[in-house]
């Protein structure tokens, strides 16, 4: 099993390696410089420089801080509302129209409203990220809580647990694998919205750094940030998937789309 | 149904050896199936009966020896050799209706569009699915899905029909029903059949000849002629002495093979 995975991994590296090396050779042979497509070596140099002078790490910190803040708010609210709606079917039914009306509004369309209320800065970005990460956690929490085995709830009743104890000791632990799937989706969405808001409006973080590099006609730096964002997204996703496997085992391998 | 003739065989296995991953699956297979014959292959699991069928279908090349069909070596699947698999659920196209699944055959054969509808209806009628032409496989019962797969094979107008434990996943009543349908279809069309099963009574009930195989590695242990007249009958055939005699022989053989 492991050897097979190894081999697949290796073959997967061939194509990007050939492209990068080929582009570098072509650039060095032709000596062609374009304002939109950098040499691979220039991208590496730019990334190195931005890492050393701290600007890339600072931008990363800003984006991650905003994403984390929004995620915490959105996911907590999603967890609370999701648990209530999952436990009491009637609440979900009554909220149905409201949810269906609010959910399809794209987060980026709320940028102007967030700008009006909060101005530029962390607050507006965090509010939009919170809005985005709220929905997947809400929906998957509802589904997960509803999926808790009735037998477990009966046991809790027989033990004469109060509502709070029932929720904290039985419902949430039993629903946790499902909730975590929602959380993973929310994390991915949080990163996407953070970068998008920064590119579209907010002078913070990786998205803004990319836009500034573009305006300064530094395609090498633009690509350096592009790959950096890719690596960060990939790392976070990898960490979460390891955490998911560690915490909940093979039974909850269902990865978010 | 015509009795097997002494003409050259429709399909012939000569000194077949097959090994998969270094493990011998079949060894020293010599077998001939004649035109118009209904041949049943029985044996315990692991005796390579499915592998034998796949060789005949051209899905698997033999390690050594030759499989010849109509006197020529088999190099790959043939249009006039059809296979009925046991797992009908996986072998049908779930996104096509019953009629659509049959149409697949005519599309690949390049049958003129104008003829297709009529021929599809005729084939579905032969297996008793005429009223279900517009249903999707998910809307059909297991027995009906298997009938649909058989219908798709019939649409190929096969000279040789290979059946791999086709009724193994069905309940007893449905199974008997389908056995009789297959016998009737074969009697009407004169198709040659090679039928793999692990059910001894099924093999005797259906076949002209029963080939018994042994495992580790798979080989042919004995061949029995079934001395029972067609048409056969679910009520009376199993009560005949020849049936009971052969059943006892095969049962003893299987017990012997497993120990």
């Amino acid at each position: 099993m492991t050897t097979r995975l190894r081999r697949v991994d290796l073959r997967g590296i061939v194509v990007p390696a050939v492209v990068v090396v080929g582009a570098e050779i072509a650039a060095r042979v032709t000596h062609y410089h374009s304002s939109s497509l950098p040499w691979p070596s220039e991208v590496v140099t730019a990334a190195g420089a931005a890492l050393i002078d701290g600007s890339m790490l600072r931008a990363t910190g800003q984006t991650l801080l905003a994403a984390f803040g929004g995620l915490m708010i959105g996911a907590s609210l999603g967890l609370v509302f999701g648990t209530v709606m999952g436990l009491f079917l009637i609440v979900e039914r009554l909220a149905e129209v409201t949810i269906e009306a609010l959910r399809p509004i794209p987060s980026v369309a709320l940028i102007p409203i967030a700008l009006l209320i909060f101005g530029l800065g962390y607050a507006m970005e965090i509010s939009l990220i919170a809005k985005t990460s709220f929905w997947p956690v809400l929906l998957l929490t509802i589904a997960a809580v509803r999926g808790v085995k009735p037998r477990l709830l009966e046991v809790a009743r027989l033990l004469r647990m109060g509502l709070a104890a029932r929720i904290v000791k039985v419902v949430i632990p039993a629903a946790l694998p499902g909730i975590f799937v929602g959380f993973r989706i929310a994390v991915g969405a949080a990163l996407v919205v953070a970068v998008t808001v920064e590119i579209a409006a907010n002078p913070l973080g990786l998205g803004y750094a990319m836009m500034r590099a573009q305006e300064a006609l530094r395609p090498d730096l633009v690509f350096a940030y592009l790959f950096w964002i890719g690596i960060i997204g990939w790392l976070i996703n990898g960490l979460l998937s390891v955490a998911q496997r560690r915490l909940f085992g093979g039974a909850s391998r269902a990865a978010p789309p | 149904m015509t009795a097997p003739s002494a003409e050259p065989p429709l399909i012939a296995f000569r000194d077949i050896d097959v090994a998969i991953g270094g493990r011998p699956i079949l060894t020293g297979i010599n077998l001939e199936i004649y035109k118009g014959e209904f041949l049943c292959i029985v044996g315990p699991s692991g005796c390579g009966k499915t592998t034998l069928l796949r060789l005949a279908a051209g899905l698997l090349p033999p390690g050594s020896g030759t499989v010849s069909y109509e006197g020529k070596p088999v190099a790959g699947p043939q249009r006039d050799v059809a296979v009925v698999f046991q797992d009908y659920g996986d072998a049908l196209l779930p996104w096509r209706t019953a009629a659509g699944n049959i149409a697949l055959v005519y599309e690949t054969m390049g049958t003129p569009r104008a003829e297709r509808a009529e021929r599809i209806a005729a084939v579905l009628a032969r297996v008793g699915l005429a009223e279900h032409a517009d249903k999707y496989p998910s809307q059909l019962s297991g027995g009906m899905q298997q009938r649909l797969q058989i219908a798709r094979c019939l649409a190929q107008e096969p000279k040789l029909l290979l059946m791999d434990e086709p009724f193994g996943a069905l309940d007893a009543i449905t199974r008997q029903d389908l056995q009789d349908q297959v016998l009737k279809i074969v009697a009407d069309s004169g198709t040659t059949v090679c039928f793999v099963t692990h059910d001894l009574e099924e093999a005797i009930y259906l076949g002209h000849r029963v080939v018994a195989m042994k495992p580790h590695p798979g080989r042919i242990a004995a061949t029995y002629d079934v001395d029972l007249p067609y048409p056969r009958d679910q009520q009376t055939t199993p009560e005949q002495p020849a049936f009971m005699q052969l059943r006892r022989t095969l049962l003893e053989f299987i017990r012997g093979a497993e120990t």
């Binding site: 061939v14 940030y225 890719g230 | 699947p77 072998a91 196209l93 996104w95 690949t108 999707y136």
Partner: protein
């Protein structure tokens, strides 16, 4: 059963109406500055006025065009490229990991890259949408090809299907559920990228328009625009879901 369901739906509509009424009340009592939260009746009036006199309809149409053509581009590209890669197990082994790396990348990060190529133009917006919304459909197609049941490969061999016939009659239909789910996701991405692209490029679509309303503190109009975005998002996803329901009716119970 059914009347109970309808009753609950009505009740939940009433809840939504009560929320709007509460919003109206809060605004009327000036509990929140109308600059941040305009009363719903004024937002509604602004919506009607802007459609009637302000040419809002044309802007919506332009945004829909961005979104729809970008999505179409992404879907066709995704299915074509996905089929080309998916049909060969070797191509899958070499390319799939690279493609998977790009999947979690925020599509909006393509803006700075493609602005350098196209400038702040309509084509840039279309290119970003086409490229950014490509991934879900592309990966779904590849995966759909990879999950064709071995038995169906055998059936195809027995029927001697050509490669083209195999793609059209077996591989693509087999991938269809995943492709459609990918296309649904891709449509949402296309809408997000349309808005972002319009904000960035100043293209006269709805995205740029709501930004202008915010800058001039015309909050009722801003809310009207956001409402329209909600409507677009809802309607487009519903349409694809309908398409999905119809195309996948074979899946049965």
């Amino acid at each position: 059963m059914m009347p109970r369901r309808a009753l609950l739906l009505l009740a939940s509509a009433i809840v939504a109406a009560l929320i709007v009424a509460l919003w109206q009340l809060v605004s009327n009592l000036h509990l929140v500055s109308p600059i941040f939260l305009p009363p719903p009746d004024r937002a509604w009036a602004a919506l009607l006025f802007d459609i009637d006199r302000g040419g809002l309809g044309g802007r919506v149409l332009l945004t829909l065009q961005h979104m729809f053509f970008g999505w179409l581009l992404a879907s066709f590209g995704g299915i074509l490229i996905g089929s080309a890669i998916g049909i060969s197990a070797t191509a899958r082994a070499y390319l799939a990991p690279t493609l998977e790396f790009f999947r979690p990348l925020p599509a909006s990060a393509l803006f700075p890259v493609l602005i350098a190529f196209f400038g702040l133009t309509e084509n840039m917006v279309l290119a970003v949408i086409g490229f950014g919304a490509l991934w879900p459909t592309l990966l779904a197609t590849i995966n759909g090809f990879a999950t064709v049941k071995p038995r169906l490969y055998e059936v195809a061999r027995l029927m001697r299907l050509s490669r083209r016939q195999f793609i059209l009659t077996i591989a693509l239909p087999n991938a269809m559920p995943e492709i459609l789910a990918g296309m649904r996701l891709s449509l949402t991405i296309a809408l997000i990228l349309s808005v972002t692209g319009e904000i960035l490029s100043g293209s006269p679509g709805l995205g740029h328009w709501i930004m202008l309303q915010a800058r001039s503190f015309r909050t009722p109009d801003l809310f009207a625009g956001v409402l329209l975005f909600g409507l677009i998002g809802y309607a487009s996803v519903q349409l694809v879901s309908l398409l999905e329901f119809w195309l996948l009716r074979w899946r049965g119970r």
